[in-house]
């Protein structure tokens, strides 16, 4: 049996950590969640020199998202699970900033190897780093890599093995603070060691002491469960107060300053700036794309071409796949009929099969191109620029620029967009962003709007519906912003330099996201299809349509039979149009009816998969609240539109 090793990748965001992960593990990876946290956890395996190595990609710190949640997930994993080796990926072009996190890892007393990544990019900026000197200063091996091309990854793995086999010894740097802080850390450490022996088997006592002095709420929370925790906490608090008195600043700031001071010193010692950096192509691109005048038309054309590509590509793929699968389903139906009763055939065919087929032929063709373009925008570094440009506008609805990113995602599919709201800092911002996202017409809703209103009433009317939706998003976002308790959070976001994305990375990202989407959406689609088919077979659906008739016909002015597609639409929005066309010729609807129908479909409920995503991110209560609000809103606005449009048409 192969010898086993467990290694973890840790580091700041934008250092190419996921590229290293992809280089190491390729397709042998899966993405999930950290238990109890909405933080992504990716894991993979590889074989090297007779070792089976499990690689855990710890969440990137200070990425676009809540630094604390991800940092806590990372450090808990390191302390509790104690992986054999931690590879700290750092960006050679921003050494000081990255060493800050390295120092934190050293404080955790973790077995560390440094992966000095993006050395090519740093060289281009005229930054040369003395690898030996850095390794000497930190007391751990440093391996230079270029993640995009994969250069250096073999050396990295060889170093991992050398350290694991004890050939290479680690003599990690002991992080020492100034006299004032050091004195306090030591006296807290002593008490921690004496009073909390259990906790000290997991976390190093010195680390606990530093965190307590820094007023780390997570560590303080851990102490509360221990017998002597309260005593230690009070003791540490006294010291923290004294530190604050001396420095006139909150203790976390004092300690962060010291740590940065050390990182700065280290970085200076090992860095040589060779040439004053010339203005590079990336910098020129950066200047134009965030320009206060040109930035906006560029953003608009980037988004417009993105949607055009998705719809053209999606349409093409969708019709091709549909043709293929429809023949397949006829074949299956015939085969099943030979030995199963008609009801079972219908359940399997219209339920299970139709669900899978619709998922593959309708959802995936739009999702896959969307994910490819998204990965492209992400890896190139454009998304933070878009967020930067939109910050001002997003503040109007109580969010900041970063929320623009899930909003764009929403036009593709609400499910990843809802998960994408994790990049917001607080629970409040995340929910607010997700609430707005649910109102964004995803590709399925676009199919209905364009396929009904766009085709029969006119493209300009369809576009007007989109504009109306944007206004609605804005108004509702503003109301929700005022209604939800809590303070809005301002924008603090890193702006990574532009980089040339790698094809391999983009394809891997697209693959893992598509799989993630399929895991969430397909079970829901299939189970839902079967349930609804069963309801239809039992006659319940037509009964419901009859009951709903006063609402559908009386209030919305739609033919009563349209209630059926609207009910089915909960499953997948595009189904409303497909079913409608099966129930009646689309042309028989009036223009007003088409507009009202599309509008209701656009707003009335995020589909079942989105509700499931909401539940996963925010719990049942909020998922139901959003569903109820959207449904009420759709019916209210639909009825209002029917009356207003009738008035306008009559006059």
């Amino acid at each position: 049996m192969a010898k086993q090793l467990r290694i973890a990748l840790a580091g700041n965001a934008n250092v190419g950590k996921s590229a290293i992960f992809n280089q190491l593990t390729g397709l042998n990876q899966n993405v999930g969640n950290w238990p109890g946290k909405t933080v992504e956890r990716a894991e993979g395996t590889l074989h090297f020199k007779g070792y089976k190595i499990r690689v855990i990609d710890l969440p990137g710190i200070y990425s676009l998202s809540t630094f604390s949640m991800e940092e806590i997930a990372s450090r808990d994993y390191i302390a509790v699970e104690k992986p054999d080796i931690i590879i700290n990926v750092i960006d050679a072009s921003a050494l000081e900033r990255n060493l800050y996190f390295t120092l934190k890892l050293l404080e955790l007393e973790a077995p560390l190897i440094i992966d000095l990544n993006q050395v090519d990019f740093a060289a281009k900026r005229g930054i040369r780093i003395d690898v030996e000197k850095l390794s000497e200063a930190l007391g751990v091996p440093v391996v230079p890599t270029v993640a995009i091309t994969g250069s250096g990854t073999n050396e990295l793995l060889s170093t991992v093995i050398a350290v694991a086999e004890g050939e290479e010894k680690l003599k990690p740097l002991k992080v020492r603070y100034g006299k004032e802080i050091e004195k306090k850390v030591r006296s807290i450490e002593k008490l921690v060691g004496a009073k909390l022996p259990q906790l000290c088997t997991v976390y190093p006592p010195r680390w606990i002491a530093i965190k307590l002095l820094e007023k780390d709420t997570d560590v303080a929370g851990k102490l509360k469960n221990h017998e002597n925790g309260k005593e230690v906490l009070n003791y540490a608090e006294e010291w923290a107060t004294e530190l604050e008195k001396i420095h006139g600043e909150p203790s976390p700031i004092v300690i962060a300053s010291e740590r940065y001071f050390l990182a700065n010193k280290l970085a200076k010692e090992v860095t040589a700036i060779e040439a004053p950096p010339r203005i590079s192509l990336e910098q020129k691109l950066d200047a134009i794309t965030t320009n206060k005048i040109f930035g906006y038309p560029i953003l608009a054309s980037v988004l417009a071409s993105m949607f055009a590509l998705i719809f053209i590509g999606g349409n093409f793929l969708s019709s091709g796949l549909e043709f293929l699968f429809n023949n397949f389903s006829i074949y299956i139906k015939e085969m099943l009929s030979s030995f199963l009763p008609a009801i079972a055939v219908d359940l399997i065919n219209k339920g299970v099969l139709a669900g899978i087929i619709a998922g593959i032929t309708i959802a995936l063709p739009y999702i896959v191109p969307f994910y490819i373009i998204l990965a492209l925008l992400e890896d190139s570094g454009y998304l933070p620029r878009a967020a930067f440009l939109m910050d001002n506008l997003m503040h109007k609805i109580g969010l900041h620029g970063k929320a623009f990113i899930p909003l764009i995602l929403g036009y593709g599919c609400n499910v990843p967009a809802c998960i994408g709201c994790r990049i917001m800092e607080t629970e409040r911002e995340r929910f607010l962003a997700a609430f707005v996202v649910a109102l964004i017409p995803c590709s399925a809703r676009t199919v209905v709007i364009l396929g009904l209103v766009g085709r029969f009433v006119g493209l300009h009317v369809a576009l007007a519906l989109y504009a109306f939706d944007l206004i609605l998003v804005f108004i509702l976002g503003r109301i929700a912003f005022k209604a939800l308790p809590g303070e809005p959070v301002g924008l603090i976001m890193e702006m990574p330099p532009y980089k040339k994305p790698s094809t391999r990375n983009i394809l891997l990202k697209t693959w893992s996201r598509t799989r993630d989407f399929a895991y969430i959406a397909f079970p829901i689609i299939i189970v839902g299809s079967v349930v609804i088919e069963a309801l239809a077979l039992s006659g319940f659906t037509s009964y419901m349509a009859e009951v709903a008739s006063p609402l559908i016909n009386g209030w919305l002015g739609l033919p009563p039979i349209t209630g059926i597609p609207l009910i089915f639409g909960v499953l997948r929005k595009e189904l409303t149009l497909i079913l409608l066309s099966e129930l009646m010729p689309l042309e028989s609807l009036t223009a007003i009816q088409m507009i009202v129908f599309s509008m209701v479909t656009m707003i009335y409920i995020p589909c079942l998969a989105t509700i499931a995503a909401f539940k996963r991110e925010f719990g049942w209560k909020k998922a139901l609240a959003v569903t109820t609000i959207d449904m009420a809103l759709a019916l209210f606005l639909g009825g209002l539109a029917y009356r207003l449009l009738s008035l306008v048409m009559a006059s």
């Binding site: 620029g401 603090i492 976001m493």
Partner: protein, 100 residues
């Protein structure tokens, strides 16, 4: 919470607070040294973690009009700060000749 600080850990005294201006008053291309940030505990802590600690030099790379966000350079990294956030960070402006 507000910490008005006249000195930093290294003991270099900043001149009286009358020389201090908010980041948003610093024009594009100009540099300043962070004195302190005021605002919620969470905010100043986040700023410190991102490297915006007292005594560090920052440069304004870009400013958006109409109370839009700022892009600054700190510790070799470009950071975007919302207008509200930036207005809470006070700096001592550096003269042009101290560039480089």
């Amino acid at each position: 919470m507000q910490f008005r600080n006249r000195g930093n850990p290294k003991g270099r005294n900043l001149q009286g607070s009358e020389d201090l201006i908010s980041l948003i008053s610093l024009s594009e291309g100009k540099k300043g040294v962070i004195a302190y940030a005021h605002g919620g505990f969470g905010l100043i802590r986040r700023l410190a973690e991102m490297g915006l600690t007292p005594g560090v030099e920052v440069k304004i790379l870009r400013k958006c009009p109409f109370r839009g966000p700022l892009e600054i350079e700190v510790r070799g990294v470009a950071l975007a700060l919302g207008y509200g956030v930036a207005s809470k960070v006070l700096v001592r402006p550096l003269k042009a000749e101290s560039n480089g």
